[in-house]
């Protein structure tokens, strides 16, 4: 297993299994964007007036690239992402990519485009459709505010070493890349083949892969990668909580040789239900006080649950007249798409469709004009916008997207509140370029993924022989080093990996599936060796095609043409084909003597030796050494006699 990403929730691993090369997820680490200045939608005098960074001794002169805000240095350039490692193995050799959920596929264009990749990507339909929306949104965010400048000097190792923290400590900056283009997105997604839960997909006849519901988001899946004898489970971003997606399928993970565990909760100490409660109460408090609420979020996922929660909450809290806005280039699509994937939803929502009613209540919020969605702050929104209001918009990093505008607009008033719900970014880092800030900040990260308690229970249930996980899970979080409950403790201990690790998975492959053709199976003669155990010797022709093996009967040699040289035929050496079976057992003396007697061999002198007996057949001048594990017949070239003796001995032995 080759580990191309060190981010535990945005994994990218490559598994070489039975001559196939399988990439598991394609996560894009976007935390790198926190090092950059926000991209404002409208000109921001504040941001443009930030002073450049000058080193103490003024030796480095990259003022244009680096700006200082509230004591922290930011790169003034189009934000860049930290890509999966590309040097560890040749990406063009990857046969398939398995995607587990739409958050874990954002690096796809970097892997499938311009790398010589010719394989297939497997994903469920919701994963593909929503993943496409998120990619389109990302591209849109970047392209609508083109930045001429692309900072590169600061990445120079010699310079980066001298920069202040946290820039100094940023890792793998040489792999950081700007966002892909929409062409790359379309091309990458055209390589996706859709799969359904529990669908068995054959790869080259050697390996079978199956997606299973993981309960985390619409269409999210864990994967089983198996042959007839080995089973690898890939668990990524799973949830046991009851939210909108279909519940997690746990039983199919049982009996794995290896379980690769990624995507646990990033907020092991935050209870999602409690966070949801905090979210609602803070929202209500701010609105009542006449302030606005800003919720930086992704355009799909938890937002559906937030809206559903608000749907029930606003009536009780008397917020019926407060406008809710969802602003994203893909807001409409995201809301529409969420309603058409009934098959992928939890039972409750599924049964709504039978009525027929839309599965999510946000349809009603839209119908009653309580929730409005806009592609951006420009256009209709600017004229219809009323305050106080609640705005859901991206990007949760606060570095690009419409959220940047609202930060500039509302940041100065302490009446307003920003509520962080996405767990991917540290909220302090996210807010850093907006300091000093008057607006209230509430941190309610909602991460429904498995916590350590749930995962240890799950592992006890499914009992994998070995667990492989990111190294982060094998020790307590650095900020809570005393919390030994916030790590995985297993027997045998999990195998940790980090970026660029190459792990040998503990497999001993011993068996392979082969098909005996019916004609061959019929011709076999089994004999019982022990009670309940029979054996049969098999001589057959092996056919291997597309990694599938079959045994066929040995073709009968073509009948010899009737020829005059018949005599010569006898002299043809036997085909180098059929060695006789192995023998087992022993030849009992008394019974053997009796047998010899029956066949007219009466003059037998028996001599006892250390290992057994020597039989001297005097008339035939033949010696037979009978021992526990061997029989040796020494005779003249009397072929009829020899074959008789041979057959007599064989009667006492088993053939294997």
């Amino acid at each position: 297993m080759y580990c191309l990403s060190g981010h535990p929730t945005l994994p990218c691993n490559v598994l070489k299994f039975k001559s196939t090369t399988i990439m598991l997820d394609c996560g894009l680490d976007t935390t790198s964007v926190l090092q950059f200045l926000p991209l404002p939608l409208v000109h921001s005098p504040r941001l443009s007036k930030l002073p450049g960074w000058v080193s103490k001794d003024s030796t480095i002169n990259i003022e244009k690239e680096l700006k200082v805000c509230a004591g922290r240095v930011f790169v003034d350039s189009q934000p860049e992402f930290c890509l999966p490692e590309k040097e560890l193995l040749d990406l063009s050799t990857i046969d398939v990519i398995l995607i587990s959920n739409y958050h874990c596929m954002m690096a796809l264009p970097y892997i499938t485009e311009h790398t010589g990749f010719t394989g297939t990507v497997y994903a469920t339909e919701p994963t593909l459709q929503i993943g496409r929306l998120l990619m389109e949104e990302l591209v849109n965010f970047m392209e609508r505010v083109p930045k001429a400048q692309s900072a590169t000097c600061w990445k120079n190792k010699e310079i980066q070493r001298l920069l202040p923290s946290p820039l100094k400590d940023a890792v793998e900056v040489s792999t950081w890349k700007r966002c892909y283009s929409i062409q790359d997105v379309n091309s990458a997604l055209s390589k996706v083949q859709l799969v359904g839960y529990s669908q068995k997909v054959e790869l080259f006849g050697a390996v079978q892969v199956t997606p299973l519901s993981s309960g985390y988001s619409l269409g999210s899946s864990n994967w089983i990668i198996q042959s007839h004898y080995e089973k690898v489970s890939y668990v990524s971003g799973s949830s046991l909580l009851t939210t909108h997606p279909q519940p997690m399928d746990q039983s199919a993970l049982k009996n794995s040789d290896v379980l690769i565990l990624t995507g646990l909760t990033q907020m092991p100490t935050a209870n999602p239900d409690g966070m949801l409660g905090d979210f609602c109460s803070n929202l209500a408090m701010t609105i009542r006080a006449g302030g606005n609420v800003l919720v930086p979020c992704y355009s799909s996922g938890v937002i559906y649950d937030l809206l559903e929660c608000l749907y029930q909450f606003i009536e009780n809290a008397n917020l019926g007249s407060t406008p809710f806005y969802f602003i994203s280039p893909v807001a409409n699509s995201s809301l529409e798409f969420s309603q058409i994937f009934a098959e992928w939803l939890c039972h409750n929502k599924q049964s709504k469709v039978y009525l027929p009613e839309p599965p999510f209540p946000h349809a009603e919020l839209i119908q009653t004009n309580k929730l409005k969605h806009y592609p951006s702050i420009h256009g209709d929104f600017s004229s219809e916008f009323r305050q106080p209001c609640v705005v859901f918009t991206g990007h949760p990093s606060l570095r690009f997207g419409d959220v940047v505008h609202f930060m500039e607009l509302w940041g100065k008033s302490s009446l307003n509140t920003i509520i962080f719900t996405e767990p991917d970014f540290s909220y302090l880092d996210a807010l850093a370029p907006y300091q000093p800030l008057a607006m209230k900040c509430v941190y309610c990260p909602i991460d429904t993924r498995l916590n350590f308690h749930q995962v240890s229970k799950l592992l006890k249930e499914v009992q994998p022989l070995h667990v492989v996980c990111p190294e982060q899970y094998t020790q307590p979080p650095p900020a809570q080093s005393h919390r030994s409950d916030l790590m995985l403790e297993l027997q045998p201990p999990p195998m940790p990996y980090c970026r660029c690790s190459v792990l040998g998975l503990p497999f001993r492959r011993r068996w392979e599936r082969i098909q005996l053709l019916p004609e061959l199976a019929k011709s076999l003669v089994p004999s019982e060796i022990k009670p309940g155990i029979s054996v049969a010797t098999v001589s057959a022709v092996l056919q291997s095609k597309d990694n599938k093996h079959t045994l066929q009967p040995v073709p009968k040699p073509p009948p010899l043409p009737p020829s005059k040289k018949r005599k010569r035929v006898v002299e043809e050496p036997p085909e180098l084909l059929a060695p006789k079976p192995l023998l087992s057992g022993a030849v009992p003396l008394e019974a053997f003597l009796a047998m010899l007697h029956k066949h007219g061999i009466t003059e037998v002198k028996v001599e006892e030796t250390a290992e057994g007996h020597i039989l001297h057949l005097q008339a035939e001048d033949t010696l037979i050494q009978l021992e526990e594990d061997g029989t040796h017949i020494v005779c003249d070239d009397n072929e009829p006699l020899r074959t008789t003796l041979r057959d007599l001995v064989l009667r006492f032995l088993m053939k294997l």
Binding site: L516, P518, V535, L551, V554, E571, K580, P581, D629, T631
Partner: protein
């Protein structure tokens, strides 16, 4: 001998009350459970007494699978499960699960409330029956039990229609339900992978038809509607609430839009609104184009098509009305037909197949006088048009599906005997496979020849593959040897050595040493060399070694030469071999007894 048995209880050489029993690998599966539109008596439902004379069906059936929501495929379901008695799982896709109970309730209302029949299933029975339904997703492999698995494929025919593969071990059957191989205005085309089933059970409604292009039919349809409306006539289009109706609505909607037409289009019954809603929620089951554009424009939100009220039928002026049911056997379509039949300006367009016995079937056959209830006769003056819009595969489509799935045997159902006969010949000719067309109650048995899966030790396999080279040579097949160990239910193939080890058995060495006398006037060592040269020239492809310790080895057979001082020319050859080399050892001893040819050089 493993075999698969197929018995249609309905739809055998007939269209209507589809119900096919399949026995495969010891499992019994019922495919569809439909009613017959042409009958009002017992023949309406399949004859379940075939399965058992008395008692419930649960213990005789492992599962029931419904291919789509049309009543001729699911209409007998509540009767079967609640009145005859079946508590096992019933599988159907999500859209089918959603729509099926609505149509069943509709059917029940017409039968009980309007016709006053008793002893029919109740609303509660429909609900109880639907509780036994397990939803099926496309391509999902559902494990019914440890051995029986089923998988659904897209069939196109109506929203949620599926073909199903039923598999036990390496034996499999595919049942198509009704399917369509060409995408239409709202659905995609059926698709299946090369799954090579032992039997492909296909519908054959249009066994002999090869339909012209869909575009032509659509143009024709629009032209006829347009002409009738222009001359002030009324157009009645009997449809089923879901399916063809939506396709034709999309067609008319776009035509009205383009031509700026004013005549009203109505859709009967309250179902419409609901039906269209199902299409919106199950948009992933529609065709590519609709799915792609649904966010911008949902094709199932119609501007020109309005709900119909019974009183509108007497309104003057042109109009187009879609009314249910599709075969004019009951309900609103029949009522409107009665009102409009007498006017030659009007037109009725039958967009789908009509089962024998229905009024639809009668007027399509040109009957001009219809006997109605109460001995009244109805004169048919309006124009009757038939346009094949029903989404069944035509002969070409059926052949195309066979090419896709590559079945070993073919079995036709859901068609008329005569047409089946024709298609059967064609299939047997073109694909050289058996094609069956059993009548109802008649069992077709197909012998399958499954290969036996065995676990082979990787060592043995790898050794064999290394010896055999990457590509097998068909002319010189290599034989591999192994020992098959049968223990409990496992079959494992290992090398004989490993088998001994695993079974805790000792190996018994059987050796032969054979003295062969030979007259040869050379020294012992020269004789040995002469033997070596002799064998070398004779045994091509064998490993023959002359070892420094004074022996010759052929493979693992040892040959030594000795002679007594008294008779130096009489050599005694000692050949020693183990039982495993018996053939070669026996051959060599016989060969050497004949002596060495004189011409052999001793060097």
């Amino acid at each position: 001998m493993p075999e698969i048995k197929v018995t249609p209880l309905g739809a055998g050489q007939d269209v209507g009350r589809s119900c096919i029993l399949v026995s495969i690998g010891g499992k019994n599966v019922m495919l569809d459970c439909g009613m017959h539109m042409g009958f009002n008596d017992d023949r309406r439902f399949p004859d379940f007494s075939y399965i058992t004379q008395q008692g419930r069906l649960t213990e005789f059936l492992d599962c029931v699978i419904i291919s789509h929501f049309h009543l001729d495929h699911c209409g007998a379901l509540p009767y079967m499960s609640e009145m005859v008695g079946y508590d096992g799982p019933i599988y159907m896709t999500h859209p089918t699960k959603a729509i099926c109970p609505i149509l069943l309730e509709d059917f029940r209302k017409i039968t009980v409330d309007k016709k006053g029949e008793t002893n029919f299933f109740t609303s509660q029975m429909i609900k109880d029956c639907m509780k036994k339904v397990v939803p099926l997703n496309l391509h999902q492999t559902v494990q019914v039990d440890d051995e029986l698995e089923i998988k659904a494929y897209y069939a196109g025919h109506v929203l949620g229609a599926a073909m199903v593969q039923i598999k036990v071990g390496s034996e499999s059957v595919v049942y198509t339900g009704d399917y369509n191989m060409t995408p239409d205005r709202h659905l995609g085309a059926a698709w299946i992978d090369k799954c090579r089933p032992d039997i492909l059970i296909s519908e054959s409604t249009y066994a002999t038809t090869i339909r012209d292009s869909k575009r032509c039919r659509e143009r024709d349809f629009l032209k006829k509607v347009h002409e009738t409306v222009e001359r002030g006539g009324k157009v009645l289009i009997p449809v089923f609430a879901l399916g063809r109706a939506q396709e034709l609505c999309i067609l008319l909607e776009t035509f009205w839009e383009r031509m700026n037409m004013k005549a009203p289009i109505y859709f009967s019954t309250g179902l419409t609104e609901k039906a269209n809603h199902y299409y919106k929620l199950f948009i992933t089951w529609t065709n590519q184009k609709i799915r792609k554009t649904f966010v911008q424009r949902n094709m199932f939100e119609f501007k020109h098509i309005k709900a119909f009220d019974r009183s509108y039928a007497d309104n003057p002026g042109p109009m187009v009305v879609f009314a249910t049911p599709g075969m004019l056997h009951a309900g609103q379509s029949l009522q409107i037909f009665k009102k409009w039949a007498g006017n030659e300006k009007n037109m009725i367009i039958m967009p789908g197949y009509c089962v024998q016995g229905t009024i639809g079937h009668k007027i399509l056959n040109g009957q001009k006088k219809l006997e109605m209830e109460n001995r009244q006769t109805l004169e048919v003056k309006l124009q009757v048009e038939y346009m094949s819009f029903s989404a069944h595969a035509d002969a070409k489509g059926i052949m195309q599906l066979i090419r896709m799935a590559e079945p070993r045997n073919m079995l036709l159902v859901h068609g008329e005997a005569k047409k089946m006969e024709f298609l059967k010949d064609k299939i047997e000719q073109e694909f050289s496979i058996n094609c069956f067309m059993p009548a109802n109650g008649e069992t077709t048995t197909v012998i399958t020849n499954p290969s036996v899966p065995v676990d082979i030790s990787l060592n043995l396999l790898k050794r064999e593959m290394a010896l055999g080279g990457p590509l097998p040579d068909p002319k010189k097949p290599r034989t591999m040897h192994g020992t098959l160990i049968m223990k409990d239910n496992s079959l494992r193939l290992v090398s004989p050595e490993q088998a001994l080890k695993e079974l805790g058995l000792n190996e018994h060495q059987l050796r032969f040493t054979c003295r062969v006398q030979l007259q040869d006037s050379h020294s012992d060592s020269d004789t040995l060399i002469r033997i070596y040269t002799h064998l070398k020239s004779l045994l091509k492809g064998y490993t023959i070694q002359h070892l420094p310790d004074g022996t010759v080895m052929v493979e693992s057979i040892v040959i030594k030469v000795s002679s007594s001082a008294e008779e130096p020319n009489t050599k005694v050859l000692l050949l020693s071999w183990s039982y495993q080399d018996e053939d070669l050892g026996s051959f060599l001893s016989t060969l050497l007894k004949k002596g060495l040819p004189s011409g052999l050089s001793s060097i």
